[in-house]
């Protein structure tokens, strides 16, 4: 018998928490993107676990689409980072304060 689904769900929750903490505390836009990837992977793990538990292939199809969207997001996001770096020579998000009132 496989390990219970709850183990994987707790693991995914902890992974999501680590990603969220990194997103909230790190300053480099690149590291923040990596933390978003961690959170997306935590959600994917949850989807696959429920897919197994409920015997529903829909969960795995959702992971497939999450992966596609993650790839698109990283492509555009890194394009923005490169474009910001051209102007500021920094990837720190603290530098981006022009919109501050």
């Amino acid at each position: 018998m496989n390990v219970p689904a709850a183990w994987y769900l707790v693991l995914a929750a902890v992974l999501f928490g680590i990603g969220a903490f990194g997103l909230l505390t790190r300053r480099s836009a690149l590291i923040m993107f990596m933390c978003i990837e961690l959170m997306l992977n935590a959600v994917n793990l949850t989807f696959v676990t429920f897919s197994r538990t409920l015997s529903d292939i829909g969960g795995q199809a959702a992971v497939f689409f999450v992966m596609v969207v993650a790839a698109a997001e990283v492509t555009v996001g890194l394009g923005i980072v490169v474009s910001v770096f051209r102007r500021r020579a920094s990837t720190s998000v603290d530098e981006l304060s022009e919109m501050k009132g």
Binding site: G22, V48, D56, I57, T75, G79, V82, A89, T91
Partner: protein, 190 residues
């Protein structure tokens, strides 16, 4: 497989995956050099791929390694090297006072809430779905067949939309990363 409790191999696989995932995730946060963070991210992604295989999502495990570890992390590394930001960031300074404490409290509340929800509700052991395929989830190569069937029938519209999304993302990335004319290019990297 052993009928008692949980089979030893599946427990070992789970522990291996958990170790890879958590060590890699902490590494992403703790490393000061972005290159090391990206390499830690690969470790986490492999751990998630192991967890996928252990739960008979074989196709997704392969895609996880090819797309995430093979394409996304390489893109990260490419940008890190391209921008030359692979110098160390001092993580000891805390520009916003109390940010880490509040972030820590918020994250602990969120994770504790998720785990409490998990422990107190019964949706973990919900009914077997009859919606998408109507039959039990198969393992091995049957998984690829099932997933392909679902993606190309039930989720066909979403699948076509992702094709458009990828094209738009590629065009957008090229447009964003394109060098401006010499007028306002500050020079520097090629």
């Amino acid at each position: 497989m052993i009928a008692t409790a949980y089979a030893i191999p599946s427990v070992l696989v789970f522990l291996t995956a958990a170790l890879l995932i958590l060590v890699g995730a902490v590494g992403v946060l703790a490393m000061r050099n972005p290159v090391h963070s990206a390499l830690s991210l690969i470790m986490t992604l492999f751990g998630v791929a192991v967890a996928f295989v252990a739960q008979s999502a074989d196709f997704l495990a392969a895609v996880q390694v090819i797309v995430y570890a093979g394409a996304i992390v390489v893109l990260f590394l490419f940008v890190i090297m391209f921008l030359g930001v692979d110098r160390r960031e001092d993580v000891r300074v805390e520009p916003l006072v109390g940010q880490r404490v509040f972030a820590g409290i918020g994250v602990v509340i969120t994770v504790a809430g998720l785990i409490t929800l998990l422990a107190r509700s019964h949706w973990v052991t919900g009914a077997i779905a009859v919606s998408s395929s109507g039959r039990a989830l198969s393992t091995g190569s049957g998984n690829v067949t099932q997933l392909g069937g679902a993606v190309f029938t039930t989720y066909l519209f979403a699948f076509e939309a992702t094709a458009a999304l990828l094209i738009i993302a590629v065009v957008g990335a090229v447009l964003l990363a394109r060098r401006e004319r010499a007028a306002d290019a500050p020079g520097g990297d090629a």
